[in-house]
Amino acid sequence: MTIGSPRLHHAFRVASASLVFLASSVATSAQDAPEWSGRLSVEVRGFLVAPDESGQPRMLVSPWLQPEYYRAWRTQSLLVVPFVRFDPSDPERTHGDIRELLWRMVHDTWELRAGIGKMFWGVTESQHLVDIINQTDVVENGDGEDKLGQPMVSVSLIRRWGHLDLFVLPGFRERTFPGEKGRLRFPLRVARELTQYTSSAGTVHVDGAVRWSHVLGGWDLGLSHFRGTGREPQLLFGTTNEGESVLIPRYVVINQTALDVQTTTGGWLWKLELISRGGQGDRFAGGKRFNALTGGFEYTFANVRGSGRDVGVLAEYLFDDRGRLATTPFEDDMFVGARLELNDVQTTRLLAGAIVDRRTGATFVSLESGRRLGNRWTMNLETRLFLGLQGDDYLFGFRNDDYAQLELSWFF
């Protein structure tokens, strides 16, 4: 996405409308001083193997910037978080976004939010099935943790029986995909200019969602329903007018009901996410209702032998009953991982994990570690390996894109 795109303009309109409302409603309230902060990072990424196609980089230096403006009044607040990244090799990855532009009003029993926001739902580590409010910013990082800002108006009701969140989501954000010169992409280019929608409303389809969440003793429960344009496109084989073979993203209107559960006893943390998704009379995989789940545990050995260090062991099972027709790579996979936290002054930590396809043995390996340097700097190391991918694997195009990355960040 480029900064001038019409989708972003739409997001801006929603946000500026809420700003006008905000300006009129807070004019007389007590005010705190505005706060500016942010993060400037540089990533140096080296790919272990030469690229498949000429023009793709072997080595990559890519900076990104995310400033943050925050202002609070007595019961209201405004948060503005723009984001911009420059990638010298891939114009699709060079992009900007309004991550947040959110006005918030908080009372004892309710909360109102309007603007562009970010919302996370879910409990598992290996993938986030239940999390659906925000679109994934795939060009940022293939791990799916980075999200695009979502225009929203939302109200939360805070009651003895839990929290009830209601969302109206005007304006759809398309998933980002790396361009031809980018790596970590499918063998064919994703032709976003040919994007299809099953709804005639396209990107202006208004989506809606509701979620109930509650803490019951040692249990965290969440039950949600989403109706609207699914965030995960089908990728159809197609041809452009120029005769180029491409993948065409196709977004289907879906109904998704989801459950997330988490509980703890001693060193154990048990996690489960379940979704059931139905499409609208679609002849492709979305046509039939399907179910998917991620479930597993994390066991923590706390303060190992009095060293102050915590060691965690994680395992999760990932399942999608569409099997090989699934629009994700994880239809029958096992995730195993380990977490190390030194609990030192620099907050040094390491997370290593592997997701293994139980049918083909294809394995995705991820290593992430980080620590603080001084007071305002952090250093993060990230390694991703794609091992044993077969020709029919969803991630086959990534087979030569193993990389290691060092990220240096300055916080202001």
Binding site: D108, F120, S156, G218, N343, D344, V345
Partner: protein, 267 residues
């Protein structure tokens, strides 16, 4: 009805502050702990700011700024919330704790970059809090039922701030097997029942840490709070100082301010 009144009287007697003759050392120790707890009841809620200064053996210092909120829930277990303002990479990170009177505490950590609330496994009590010399159990609200007690002696309170006062010296042993300590020796001043000093002994009975509390001030006409807490680790030579400020009581916090969902708006 009579028996109810009688049991009420009995409770009052066993919790009476006066350390009567003829009590065993265990009873005297418990009575002191119960009285110190009683004097701190009824604070309803409080907020405070604190600076955490981590000092390495070589003398290097790092400072963190935090805000804390607490909600008293008599007979149910208190709730507390700590929010980080610095260092800037963890700004907005928040730790929510439900201190349960029986069983493990419930804890959640909010990570603002991901907007994600993560539950923390309940067993981690003895590990260090944010690289400091304070463990989670040191910072958790102290529940009388979590220890057994023994009266040791009376002596002049240690430290200049309390030099004219006499202290009770009691020993307490954690009941919880996951505690990092075999025992703690606690100095409590006889006038106001303030904790003056705590010596911590590790599981091998070796001297581990000493906590010295000073700069006490009284709030709302009742509640004493230390403005300065220095935790020194004798085994590593490192120390952590907590400097408290902006204490406020009865600010009207509610249970809904202490839910995992509320963590997303604590900033």
């Amino acid at each position: 009805m009579n028996s109810l009144i009688m049991s009420g009287v009995l409770v009052v007697l066993t919790q009476a502050p006066a350390v009567a003759l003829g009590q065993t050392a265990e009873e005297r120790g418990l009575a002191i702990a119960v009285e110190a707890d009683r004097r701190d009841r009824g604070f309803a809620d409080s907020t405070a700011e604190l600076r955490m200064i981590l000092r390495s053996r070589g003398g290097d210092e790092r400072s963190r700024e935090l805000r804390s909120r607490a909600l008293e829930r008599p007979d149910q277990g208190d709730r507390s919330l700590v929010v980080f303002d610095s260092p800037p990479d963890v700004r907005g990170t928040a730790l929510l704790t439900y201190a349960n009177r029986v069983g493990d505490d419930d804890q959640w950590l909010y990570l603002p970059a991901l907007k994600r609330v993560r539950r923390i496994a309940a067993s981690n009590r003895s590990g260090p809090f944010m690289g400091s010399e304070f463990s989670y159990e040191d910072l958790a609200s102290q529940v009388v039922e979590q220890f057994t007690y023994r009266w040791l002696r009376e002596e002049a309170c240690p430290g200049e701030a309390f030099d004219s006062l006499t202290c009770f010296v009691i020993e307490r042993r954690p009941i919880e097997a996951r505690s990092g300590y075999s025992r703690q020796v606690v100095w409590i001043d006889q006038e106001e029942y303030r904790t003056v000093k705590i010596d911590y002994y590790d599981r091998r009975e070796a001297a581990l840490k000493t906590l010295s509390l000073s700069q006490y001030e009284q709030y709302a006409g009742r509640f004493w709070r230390a403005g300065d807490m220095l935790m020194s680790n004798h085994q590593t030579g490192q120390s952590t100082r907590l400097v408290w400020s902006e204490y406020e009581f009865g600010v009207g916090l509610r249970e809904s301010d202490f839910t995992p969902q509320a963590l997303t708006r604590v900033r």
